[in-house]
Symmetry: C2
Subunit: 329 residues, 2 copies
């Protein structure tokens, strides 16, 4: 893997120099300015040229880089990515997909959208399912991912109007999207082993993601307090160190670091702003893996064939034979 590192040369050059073993693999690309966490997406779209974020995305646009990784401002990164990479043909709303610790053998489920857009209509949810299934095949190695639609209950009559419409769209798209649609799922099912990909709008997905993070943090703080209280407990915690470490590894948010932007002409991985070296490394590995397998071309082909099937269905009615998945995926 080779890396193009975008940013202030005066800051980065000395840091890179400390690792001579990587010097042949790292190309510095100077940028005068940075996008801060306080910049609004709309401003960055207008005035962002010359920032390290803009330059990073442009490297993907020009085909110089196979994928982009950033720890910066999520809204601005999505805005710059949409502006410079453009949406894939047929995609209405791009999405951000994240991994979620789960009871499945692979250890993770996938959820999208977790914050690209605060709204999603039924056809958007269908595209999320198709894109999520493609990511699950290429990123998690699942042959025929099981898709669930996040709702407030599993009964068919529950939920908002767009979810009831999406229910039908997803059931009809199982073959073309090469996934199994399992119906509505609830918040309790997000980490379960009955589903691989959880589809929802970006508002609900973002709240769910942060609620899960907050709950995990609360429990780990309570655990620390509980084990810190009293000599006996501290001794026990010492004895239990291996178990606690194993638990921490399973739940470690750094291992699941990396939200993937889906639906653009290029792969962009968003690392958590507070990620440490382990976390950033996980995000870079993910970007590398997706670039290696040609994920974005596969995703584009899948979206295109779903789009074509949708148009056929609209012309000849829902009984038209469904075409198979694209041979590239």
């Amino acid at each position: 893997m080779d890396v193009i590192l975008h940013g202030d040369q005066a800051v980065l050059a000395p840091l890179v120099a400390k690792h001579p073993e990587f010097s042949s693999r790292i190309t510095l690309r100077h940028a005068d300015r940075v996008v801060t966490m306080h910049d609004k997406p709309a401003q960055v779209m207008r005035h962002g040229a010359g920032t390290s974020m803009w330059s990073t995305i442009d490297a993907v646009r020009e085909g110089e880089a196979g994928a982009a990784v950033s720890c910066g401002n999520t809204g601005a990164l999505m805005a710059v990515s949409m502006l410079r990479l453009r949406k894939l043909p047929g995609v209405n709303r791009p999405a951000i997909a994240c991994l979620w610790p789960s009871r499945n053998p692979g250890g993770f489920n996938l959820m999208l959208d977790v914050g690209a857009d605060v709204k999603a209509e039924a056809p958007d949810l269908l595209q999320y399912a198709i894109m999520g299934a493609s990511y699950a095949r290429n990123g998690l190695g699942l042959k025929r991912p099981r898709i669930g639609l996040l709702n407030v209950g599993t009964e068919e009559h529950k939920g908002r109007a767009e979810l009831k419409q999406a229910q039908d769209l997803l059931a009809h798209a199982q073959d073309i999207g090469d996934f199994e649609y399992i119906g509505f799922v609830e918040g309790t099912d997000i980490p379960s082993d009955r589903v691989d990909v959880i589809v929802t709008d970006g508002f609900t997905g973002n709240v769910a993601l942060k609620t899960g993070e907050g709950t995990a943090k609360l429990i780990s703080d309570f655990m620390r307090e509980a084990f810190g209280a009293g000599l006996m407990s501290r001794f026990a915690a010492l004895l239990a160190l291996n178990s606690l470490k194993r638990l921490q590894r399973r739940m470690d948010p750094r291992r699941v670091n990396g939200g993937v932007f889906l639906g653009l002409n290029g792969t962009v991985v968003k690392s958590h702003g507070s990620a440490d070296a382990t976390g950033v490394s996980a995000a870079i590995s993910l970007a590398y893996q997706l670039a290696q397998v040609g994920f974005n071309e596969r995703l584009a082909a899948r979206v295109a064939s779903a789009e074509a099937a949708g148009q056929d269905a609209a012309q000849v009615g829902p009984d038209a034979p469904e075409t198979g998945g694209s041979p590239t995926e």
Copy 2:
């Protein structure tokens, strides 16, 4: 406390007979039928007369009972409650409020709506804030509760249109509602000590609640596996028993059992369907406490004065002096 127990006399009478110490406090009220978990709310509204659920709510309607407790079908319970108790004057959408383990001194935050209605417009969110503040004063003993509006970020420009409108409504209603509005909060803030009451629509609230439950369950399962692996770990767990018990007590979902229906002419507490004796007991205690302090009259007065202030404001503009809170609360 006296109890009116609604249900099949043939089943309940022998159970009650096992506790002669309570016999003078329990009145059996026979009902031929029950509402099942599979019955749809609309059906129960049409054909539910004669069920134990209907009879329970009617006891509140007739003033025989100070509050109702049920472990049954939530949707049906809300439908029957709305039909038989009717909404409080001025309330558009009733809400379900739940407690959430938190870092606050009292140990709990409050969130609403967690599932009464899948939608909420800005004026509904304002009513949730007023009702939630009243519940926090009467149920949690907080003098001037801090209210946060759940969103995907804390910056003012983020989120859906109705949230931006609600932002202004809540800021203006702080005096009349006797709460402090702290602005947008995120999923990570739900258990935090910077907020007491989290206001959101019933779809988002329900997903957040169940996501929190699912995350806590996943971690506790992982913990059990981690501590079950190896003799050393089991020995450590034994030593740490007190700490683990203390932790469990803090996180125990049974201690927070009881969703309260707000905005009706009567108090209804919904216990979790899978609650055990400890859980049901917590729900009954909560109902008793709310009935004791005359919570529903206080809530009604608060909603009425907010309604009056809203009309005044609409007539004379936003600069009209705000009237104080109702003297009954």
